[in-house]
């Protein structure tokens, strides 16, 4: 046990990513080019941002459904601000501010009015989807300031700017989560909100913070989408973004019940999803097959990861060859709820 702890829990998803990437590489030589790696990451950045935000919320035991339509809202805010003649960085800042405010409103309603997160964020999802439509009559708004392109199309040492931004945010937020009291409080609230309250943790502030953070991340998603297309349009983020972001976090080991998981895990989950999407388009998988393939790969990935967590490889093999051994009868014992990943999953998150 003590020895196992030094292997980071995120490794499992990492292995799955390598596996999937290897298969795609075999199928297509272009897949394994550096350019494609950059592209893969670039196309994964929006999901990655959302997944980071979602991870914060999930860690406290909540959920944020508003994150997809917040992309449209914030992107539109940026485009409108610039159309009003303000410089690009002010446009970007106001988008981020709006994103964070939407999140903070979510958090406030959830904590102070004691409503289920699902309902609150479902409502803000609707509101955030409507506002851009109402403001522009469903029209797109061209970005006026060409410098705004730096966010989505720029690059730093040949690395696409959105990827750089994800990295910067990932580091900052991981530090926040692992090295500050607030980070501990987030895990504590997700572990047991009542206990946290009794320990004097300001759970209201923590709740507001995580949702605001998720809103901020959605704002980054909105900026990247808008900057890559150089147009703010009201249906941005209305596709699979929301689901994929939650799935990425869960694939990366974040429990939907709170208290367990890590940011690098969620990020790796996002990379897995990006790899699969990219790989399928690069290899040329028929679009009808894509939902099926992505579903199965994610399922397979989680199965591999689950077994890796539960047992060492040798145990796995032994089990596989033991006659009539029920798959996982005894390993399940320690799981508090059938749905939560095994307890140990959390161990990497807290030090």
């Amino acid at each position: 046990m003590t020895k196992r702890r030094h292997i980071p829990e995120e490794l499992g998803v990492g292995v799955v990513i390598v596996l999937v990437a290897a298969i795609f590489s075999l199928m297509s030589p272009t897949f394994r080019t550096l350019d494609n790696a950059n592209l893969l990451l670039l196309n994964g950045t929006v999901i990655a941002f959302l997944a980071m935000g979602q991870a914060f919320v999930l860690l406290t035991g909540g959920i944020d459904l508003s994150t997809g339509s917040n992309i449209a809202l914030t992107g539109m805010v940026a485009a409108l601000t610039m159309r009003a003649g303000l410089p690009w960085w002010l446009g970007a800042l106001s988008a981020l501010a709006v994103g964070a405010v939407v999140g903070a409103i979510n958090g406030a309603l959830i904590h102070y009015v004691k409503l289920p997160p699902f309902i609150v964020t479902f409502a803000t999802f609707g509101v955030a989807a409507s506002i851009p439509l109402i403001l522009t009559g469903a029209n797109s708004v061209n970005v006026a300031d060409p410098l705004f392109a730096i966010i989505g199309r720029g690059s730093l040492f040949a690395v696409p700017m959105p990827v750089v931004l994800v990295a910067v945010f990932a580091i900052a937020l991981t530090v926040l989560l692992r090295m500050t009291p607030t980070g501990v409080h987030i895990y504590a609230v997700g572990g047991n909100a009542e206990t946290s309250r009794l320990s004097g943790i300001p759970i209201g502030r923590v709740t507001m913070l995580v949702y605001a953070m998720s809103g901020l991340c959605a704002g980054m998603g909105g900026l990247i989408t808008t900057s890559r297309l150089m147009v703010g349009y009201p249906s941005a983020g209305s596709g699979n973004e929301l689901f994929y972001s939650i799935a990425a976090a869960v694939v990366g080991g974040v429990s939907l019940f709170g208290g367990i998981g890590s940011l690098p895990g969620a990020l790796l989950g996002a990379v897995l999803i990006a790899t699969v999407s990219n790989g399928m388009n690069v290899v040329g998988v028929q679009s009808f097959w894509q939902p099926l393939v992505i579903g199965l790969i994610i399922l397979g990935g989680v199965i591999i990861d689950t077994y890796r967590r539960k047992s060492s490889l040798s145990q796995l093999l032994r089990r596989a060859f033991r006659p009539g051994g029920a798959a996982a009868d005894d390993t399940a014992l320690q799981t508090p709820a059938a749905a939560a990943p095994p307890l140990e999953a959390g161990s990497a998150t807290t030090h």
Partner: protein, 314 residues
């Protein structure tokens, strides 16, 4: 009896009188008759323009136009139309979400004695027949011709036997998009050196199209032409190309996008005009003319240097 199987042909609505086989609901004699309009979505600028056409023409033609948006869901569209039928419209203008499921919506309007004018998306003939439903008119772009038109322009630009390696950014589950693809493919069939090597789903959304295009190009570096079968796809595909990319985008026009060397030609529909024309057809019918069963609008070609105007989109 107690059970109604729902299969019986509904008796024509009592209040409807008929002119030339087309039922005419009582509400048609109101001062400003109520016209129900059902559109699939507003995420595509195409329908935003069409909605405007309907609404403005409604004012001009003294019709009370109400537009409802189905969010791309056929069942939802049926629900919306049934809701509007409660208010006894004089006519229904229908741009169905999907071709076959649209037949049930037509059937619902038939049962309520309301005439149906379809626009842009045709209703599948077999579906109509199997449900015993009928429409008054179809008005819309000639999608197959549009695709072919682009192909012809492409061959004109590149030469009749140019080596063309084409990638499609389309929406395989949208009937009009598939029709355009077929038109395009038949157009380039004359060039033995042209072939389609990849097809990706842009979901009629610019961000999805952007991603899908980048990845298609990564997988097929030899692609030199992209055919985008919808406006949003054209926009996303264009954004996916670097400024020094050799790839050219042809297709249905992205809104407000000037045509350049990299984006040499596109065809545009005029959805706003379609909306206006449908209303005018209805007004004409109310004034006594018999509507044609099919009105096909040709597409407008744009080439380098031109910019599609307001309301001219793919």
């Amino acid at each position: 009896g107690a059970v109604n199987t729902g299969t019986a042909k509904a008796g024509s609505a009592a209040s409807a009188s008929s002119t030339g086989g087309i039922p005419k609901p009582a509400s048609c004699s109101d001062a400003t008759p109520y016209v129900a309009v059902a559109l699939p979505n507003l995420t595509n600028p195409y329908y935003v323009a069409m909605k405007k056409g309907f609404e403005d023409a409604g004012q001009a033609n003294k019709l009370k136009v109400e537009v409802q948006i189905a969010n791309d869901d056929s069942a939802n569209q049926l629900a919306q139309v049934q809701g509007m039928l409660q208010k006894k419209p004089c006519a229904l203008a229908l741009n169905a979400v999907k071709s076959e499921p649209g037949a049930a919506i037509v059937k619902a309007a038939n049962d309520a004695g309301v005439p149906v004018f379809t626009v842009n998306v045709g209703i599948d003939e077999t579906s109509l027949k199997s449900q015993g439903a009928s429409i008054v008119q179809y008005l819309g772009a000639d999608n197959a011709a549009g695709g072919k038109q682009v192909a012809e322009q492409l061959l004109k630009d590149a030469g009749a036997d140019a080596k063309l390696t084409v990638g499609l950014v389309t929406a395989p589950d949208e009937t009009p998009a598939v029709t355009r693809d077929k038109g395009f493919e038949s157009g380039i069939a004359s060039d033995a050196n042209a072939k389609v090597v990849a097809t990706v789903d842009g979901k009629v959304k610019p961000d999805v199209s952007l991603k899908a295009t980048t990845e298609m190009l990564a997988g097929n570096p030899d692609i030199n032409v992209i055919f985008a079968s919808t406006g949003p796809a054209a926009y996303g595909a264009l954004q996916a190309l670097g400024s020094n990319s050799k790839v050219k985008v042809y297709g249905f026009c992205a809104a407000d996008q000037p045509l350049t060397a990299q984006y040499p030609a596109c065809v545009a529909q005029e959805p706003e005009v379609y909306g206006t024309k449908v209303i005018e057809q209805i007004r004409g019918w109310l004034n006594g003319t018999t509507p044609q069963a099919q009105v096909l609008e040709s597409l407008k070609l744009f080439t380098v240097g031109q910019t599609p105007g307001a309301g001219e989109v793919g």
